[in-house]
Symmetry: C2
């Protein structure tokens, strides 16, 4: 297998088994079953283990002809609620559809787990059950965002509130592998999110992370510090940040995008001229909507785990859930975790680096 990229090897693997949390998400289990069927149309090599209430799941699966022989229901009535605290979910959710899906990855029955349920619980369970990859201290939540120039991989989006320089370096390695292997970017450019591009900007954590990447000997095209506008500009392929900043940034971007599209819709529908313009301009407006459709970018990867876990947005529909399933399949197909392990092995043990002075 070509270690450079595997984007053209869609058909190289067969029968990829994916565990689905049938009960996670605002509109579960409907969107899970329909999303699985949609994903199967794109990737006929998938096979699903569907965890949840058989009574609810069975009639739904029966409506999807494509799922015959491709979807095995594993019954459980327990489910993790959206508002359950991760610590409670860990203790009391051992028989939940979410936990059983992760267990299936652990015991080798499935190669990946996908859930649209409670993010905190999913991360906590994944960490406890699967543990992290060798040399990775903490998993990160990563997602692909639309930008002007190219899709941008951003991590961490909320798993780690406080990060060390080592964590950020590991995120850089994981993001680089994803951009190269899954998105097929030749020598992806990596940036660390900061308040300015000059070396002296930011706090000691980002400055130390930058110094470590530069002196590490890692085969990474490190492009330096980037600012918030570089994320939407697409100046780099991978944006590395701590989970606090990343989470706020993601939600601000989502909020701004949604405010814009709604204002656009309202403005066009509030007058006859607007309505006429909308009718005539519909193809143009549709292409914009498609470009920024959050469902196309659905599927946050929990990178750094000893197994593949993908979190779908809780409020998504079947198309969005299908995207999340395909993200999991891509990670498997490209052996992303194996590549991360290889990359981390090239990293010398970190010697303390004198932090840059301002």
């Amino acid at each position: 297998m070509d270690a450079g990229s595997c984007v053209h090897l869609k058909d190289a693997c067969v029968n990829i088994s994916i565990a689905l949390d049938g009960m996670g998400g605002d509109d579960a289990p409907g969107i899970v079953v329909e999303g699985a069927a949609q994903a199967l149309r794109e990737r006929p090599d998938l096979h699903f283990l569907l965890f949840g209430d058989e009574e609810k799941l069975k009639p739904l699966v029966a409506t999807q002809a494509s799922l015959i022989n491709r979807c095995e229901i594993r019954h459980t009535t327990d489910a993790v609620a959206a508002e359950t605290k991760p610590s409670i979910a860990l203790r009391q959710g051992r028989k939940s559809s979410m936990r059983l899906a992760i267990d299936a990855v652990k015991n080798g029955e499935a190669r990946a787990a996908v859930s649209a349920g409670n993010t905190g619980a999913l991360m906590a369970m994944s960490k406890v059950v699967l543990r992290t990859l060798p040399a990775i201290d903490r998993p990160a939540i990563a997602s692909v965002l639309p930008s002007r120039q190219r899709p941008v991989v951003m991590l961490d989006l909320g798993a780690n509130i406080d990060c060390t320089a080592d964590n950020l370096v590991q995120f850089a390695v994981m993001g680089e592998v994803y951009a190269r292997m899954v998105l097929g970017v030749h020598e992806p450019k990596i940036g660390i999110l900061n308040v300015g591009t000059e070396d002296v900007k930011g706090d000691s954590v980002v400055r130390e992370a930058a110094a470590r990447i530069q002196s590490s000997g890692l085969k990474i095209d490190y492009a330096g510090f980037v600012e918030g506008t570089d994320v939407t500009e697409g100046s780099v392929d991978v944006v590395v940040t701590d989970g606090f900043t990343g989470n706020v940034a993601l939600k601000i971007a989502e909020g701004t995008a949604s405010m814009f599209t709604d204002t656009l819709r309202q403005s066009f529908s509030s007058s006859w001229r607007g309505k006429l313009a909308y009718l005539i301009g519909r193809p143009a407006l549709k292409s914009i909507r498609r470009k920024f459709d959050p469902r196309r970018y659905n599927g946050a990867m929990f990178l750094g785990l000893n197994g593949v876990v993908v979190k779908s947005h809780g409020g998504t529909d079947a198309l969005g859930f299908s995207s999340a399933v395909q993200v999991a399949a891509e990670l498997l197909r490209c052996s992303a975790n194996e590549r991360i392990i290889e990359e981390m092995e090239t990293l010398p043990s970190f010697a303390p680096v004198a932090s840059v002075q301002i």
Copy 2:
């Protein structure tokens, strides 16, 4: 004077003297002079001290009839370049147009300074020359952002990379005073930016700040933690955050907005249908552009200084610079600094609060 709000007292004060950095900004001095003239049309009570190269400024001022007797040029050939480090600007820029504008506030010749120049240099000079208000440890950069429901005051936007809980509490007080006094919001709602709304979310700094505000006896309508989407939703009137997160959030929001408007323009201009739709829908599109026009929101306040300093966006035009001048005038008219001092005096000395456990 009504301590509740002064938004209706536009004509209560006369001859407000404002010092302008004539040489700061990408298109200075043209936009500074034209912006001053525009601001004067809105507020005939303004008077300007214009610092910069007389040879360049004089002919520009001469073209603006309204500036006669309303604008005094103070000659200096020194100016702070956009890329100059704050520490260098502090040492070598003592005769710069920026520094002299701030000095004019210090020595009482002007009541506020406005500059479209180098943000870091302006903040560094302002701190050294003006110092902070009593009980304010660090000034913050604040700005008003558009949202779905209402204008939202957000601070800090980049002055303080590392913040303590005390800093955040002080930012909350300053933001509250601005929303109440200048925007005229009755009992503004204050939120602290976090990765979730539950009390246990976030790092120890935001949790401690929240606990302190709640136990402080401050007359603040504290609404709890807010997320990135609440900023664009306008769920609260004031969003408090550290300068790192705030800076990234602001630039991501600006970048997303600009990506959207540009994509919209491209989509409409790439086909005859799109062009026709644009022509017919122009009024609707114009209303959107007006709603989100960054020039209308131009003018970042340096709150917490012993004097009023407003930073205009470096790349703005005359209309944007005029907005920044009016922000300064509003801060003065509402005696925002005096109100912040009063508010801070009601704050008991902080006793250490046991941090909330997760």
